[in-house]
């Protein structure tokens, strides 16, 4: 979107400061969609920050139960992180493929993203199941409540992302790279990358700092 400076009109605006920058009118649909979705993502990040805050407040409240250092397994978390970061890369590849209308690379990129996402979810699920089996479920202490909620909330987002991803593949299959499908793809990519950013937060605040204590 370009702003055009029309100095000739300067006097139409009584408050003009040097050059008047005229607003060119409504933005294109693509920009509006992406912008709105971006605003949504910001609000989602605000929600996450509440769970982060709760974790920060409660992480010491173990009520005689285990602390973070006792239950976190660095190896699992490392694999999870690699999966998610890689999946962001493949998701980017799929977006580029969509932009140049290349079906093969689009499907491949999305499929790999999907597999990586599912591996991430399986590892997380096993971690949770294992903790619960050992009696360290979210009801054990406030620390564990906040841990399960924060990490689980991210996991729920990833699950929703996988569902969305599959829907996107089906849409491209059924409708091709139509303008509205492409706009949706753009939103999906934004969503998936945002999950990555949040995971970096989870990884650092929960697992790295948590293990150090």
């Amino acid at each position: 979107m370009s702003m055009t400076a029309t100095a000739g009109r300067a006097h139409a605006d009584p408050h003009h400061i040097g050059v008047v920058v005229e607003h060119p009118g409504p933005a294109s649909k693509r920009i509006v969609t992406a912008y709105g979705f971006w605003v949504f993502l910001l609000s989602d990040i605000v929600m996450f920050s509440c769970f982060f805050a709760a974790y920060a407040v409660l992480h010491g409240q173990t009520a005689g139960g285990p602390s973070g250092a006792e239950i976190f397994e660095q190896r699992n978390v490392a694999i999870e992180t690699v999966c998610l970061l890689l999946s962001s890369f493949t998701c980017g590849m799929a977006s580029i493929a969509a932009d140049v209308r290349n079906r093969f690379w689009f499907y491949l990129g999305m499929a790999v993203t999907c597999v990586l996402g599912i591996i991430f979810l399986v590892i997380e699920f096993r971690e949770f199941a294992d903790l619960i089996a050992r009696g360290y479920g979210p009801t054990r202490s406030a620390f564990l409540s906040s841990f399960f909620s924060l990490v689980g909330c991210h996991g729920l987002h990833v699950s929703a992302g996988v569902l969305w991803l599959l829907t996107m593949m089906a849409q491209v299959f059924a409708k091709g790279f139509r303008a509205d499908v492409l706009r949706r793809m753009m939103c999906f990519a934004l969503f998936w990358h945002a999950l990555d950013i949040i995971w970096v937060g989870v990884f650092s605040v929960v697992y790295l700092l948590g293990s150090a204590v």
Partner: protein, 666 residues
């Protein structure tokens, strides 16, 4: 099979809610039958329920708010009567019923009256003021509205099936935790707010994007009408604050449903964290409500003074300052909970700082009126009434923002008086002013002035008679939420307040009569010009009610007060309208997505409240399926051909031409 739901959920032993519920049920059934028998159902379905037109959605929001105002108002009447007679007696309401009433009253008034009212007005007006055809995401807009309606429906359902929370409108734990509130009351509260909160967030995203990305040509930021600015500020606050509410309620629900320990007394839970989180949302929330009202007053005051808004830029600055500062004062709601003097002092000072931009606004309104040609039409009356009332509310706000004073006044009737002072005198007066001001735009005829003025005076006086005594009772030590009391000194004030409530009620009745009378006389009150108040911003440039596409052309804005400018230019150029060239217009198609989503959300919410798990899953699948089906649609727009646009627009142009030439003749 039905979870916790059985016959004991229906309070057969309590006549009041049952009778009230029965009356409402009969009324709803009656309306439904009337609609079906008269054959209005297809019209309602195609023109309203599935409509994605921002104007229609705005009207439906306001309708919802008005209905809920009556519900919340009857709660208020019951409470005032109870406190007037409950001196050394039990009164007529059993305590747990009284507790439900004040919780429902606060919840309803904030979430289902004030919020939908201001969101409705913003929806209705902002795209028109920006000179555009629609909001950024029309279908999502409809989803947002219907989710709000779902929340309202669930709250009302609690009247006859089960119970409502007895915890106050913010459901503080540990009282709202499972051990102290084992019933479904808090679940009703939390799920209805959770669902309607999603609707509000959607509306917020929509309006932020609309204001930032969809303005018409030449509508620079510093040419936007004030109402658009306050809409922007208010919706930025929604986007930033409502996720906090969502997260907080999610934590409370996890505590209640799955035995988590966020806010419990055991296993390390932290109740203070709830206070911090809920008020980090709650304080911005009061500004989410009042900022749009400030915008309405700015529009009304400048229109009815026949002058441009004084200090437009300082007004913008003040709005954005309030937007930012309102996030930094939340702790003043729990000064008394032991955060220590340093923290209290910082938050006390931060709170008082908000009074500065608010004061700037008040002075700007006064200076706008100064030297203007003022017309005291009904919207202007509400605005002037607001200025007087809100100053009192703001001053008492600054008073309770002084920590030592707050130790005396916290949770007293003084506080009740303060926030009613700002919310009724600020938000509600603003909503009424906006309602009177934009009604002709929405429906094409004015409201009856005589009944409007009566409504104003009764409401205004009733407000003072009801709430000034509460300040005094608070200073005499009366705490809030008392079911009954033994202190003789409080009693006279409670009786005066109950009397004031009666006066207020007359005001509301006048407003209903006004509506009925105006609809009856609509031919006499018809406004063909589309510009009944000699307005200054673009919503008055189109016909009333506006066509679906709002404007045949995107208006080209050259300065502040866009429409005023156009009128002035048209007069100078002796109405030099060349034959305009019309183009096809694409508009979004109607869609039942919003309604169907809300249908499943209602099922899911109800099932969650009563622990009917299979139904929860069914509702979830239904909602997801709706979205996929919606995403699968092939045609989401239809085309209005250029000839049709021309035909509709020509009428408007003719009317306007005669208007301008008449004004020129005078």
């Amino acid at each position: 099979m039905l979870g916790k739901l059985d016959w004991s959920a229906i309070p057969f032993d309590q006549p009041i809610p049952l009778v009230a519920g029965a009356v409402v049920l009969v009324a709803i059934l009656g309306v439904l039958i009337w609609v079906v028998v008269k054959g209005h159902l297809p019209y309602l379905w195609h023109e309203w329920i599935t409509s994605v037109d921002h104007k229609r959605i705005g009207v439906m929001y306001i309708l919802l708010a008005s209905v809920m105002l009556l519900r919340g108002g009857s709660d208020a009447i019951m409470m005032r009567i109870q406190q007037a007679i409950a001196y050394q007696s039990q009164g007529y309401l059993p305590p747990e019923h009284y507790n439900q009433i004040f919780s429902a009253h606060g919840t309803i008034m904030i979430f289902f009256v004030a919020m939908p009212f201001v969101i409705g007005l913003m929806n209705l007006v902002v795209p028109l003021q920006l000179g555009v055809r629609d909001v950024a995401f029309p279908t999502l807009n409809s989803v947002g509205f219907w989710l709000t309606a779902t929340g309202a429906l669930l709250v009302n359902l609690s009247l006859v099936i089960g119970e409502f929370a007895r915890t106050g409108w913010l459901a503080f734990p540990p009282l709202s935790g499972l051990s102290y509130s084992p019933g479904v009351g808090v679940d009703y509260y939390a799920w209805s707010l959770q669902i309607s909160g999603v609707g509000t967030l959607v509306a917020g995203i929509n309006l932020v994007t609309t204001v930032l990305k969809l303005r018409t040509k030449g509508m620079n930021y510093l040419r936007m009408p004030m109402f658009c600015w306050t809409t922007l500020a208010s919706n930025l606050l929604i986007v930033a604050a409502f996720p906090i509410l969502t997260a907080t309620l999610a934590m409370l629900l996890l505590d209640r449903y799955l035995g988590f320990h966020f806010f419990t007394n055991e296993a390390g839970g932290n109740v203070m964290m709830f206070m911090n989180l809920i008020w980090a949302w709650g304080h911005p929330e009061v500004y989410i409500l009042v900022l749009p009202a400030f915008g309405i007053f700015s529009e009304v005051v400048s229109t009815f003074s026949g002058k441009a808004l004084f200090g437009y830029r300082s007004m913008v600055l003040a709005t954005m300052a309030i937007c930012v500062i309102s996030f930094m004062v939340w702790l003043h709601h729990f000064f008394t909970m032991g955060a220590g003097p340093d923290v209290n002092a910082i938050f006390g000072i931060a709170s008082m700082i908000i009074a500065i931009p608010t004061g700037v606004k008040i002075y700007n309104w006064l200076f706008t009126m100064y030297g203007g040609r003022i017309r005291f039409a009904t919207p202007m009356l509400w605005s002037v009434g607001f200025m007087v009332t809100f100053i009192i509310g703001g001053l008492t706000g600054v008073l309770v923002a002084v920590p030592p004073a707050d130790f005396m006044l916290h949770n007293s009737m003084f506080l009740v008086a303060h926030f009613h002072n700002v919310i009724i005198g600020g938000v509600l007066f603003g909503a009424f002013a906006g309602f009177e001001y934009w009604f002709p735009k929405a429906f094409g005829f004015r409201l009856d002035e005589r009944w409007g003025k009566l409504a104003f005076w009764f409401t205004f006086l009733g407000f003072y008679v009801t709430f000034m005594p509460l300040y005094i009772a608070g200073m005499l030590g009366m705490t809030r939420r008392l079911q009954h009391y033994d202190v003789a000194a409080w009693r006279p004030w409670m009786i005066v307040a109950a009397f004031g409530m009666a006066v207020l009620t007359i005001g509301v009745i006048c407003q209903i009569i006004q509506l009925v009378v105006s609809i009856r006389n609509r031919e006499a009150l018809r406004d063909r010009t589309g510009d009944p108040w000699d307005g200054r911003s673009l919503e008055w440039a189109t016909s009333s009610p506006p066509p679906v596409f709002n404007f045949a052309f995107h208006p080209d804005v050259r300065g502040e007060d866009a429409y005023w400018d156009m009128k002035a230019r048209a007069q100078q150029q002796s109405l030099g309208h060349e034959k305009p060239e019309y183009h096809d217009i694409e508009m979004p198609r109607n869609s039942p997505t919003g309604f169907i989503c809300a249908f499943f959300a209602t099922i899911m919410g109800f099932a969650l409240i009563w622990h009917i798990w299979w139904m929860v899953i069914l509702g979830g699948i239904g909602a997801f399926a709706t979205f996929v089906v919606f995403a699968w649609r092939d045609h989401d727009e239809y085309v209005i051909p250029a000839e049709e646009v021309a035909r509709i627009d020509r009428v408007n142009i003719e009317e306007r031409r005669s208007l301008v030439s008449m004004a020129g003749a005078i």
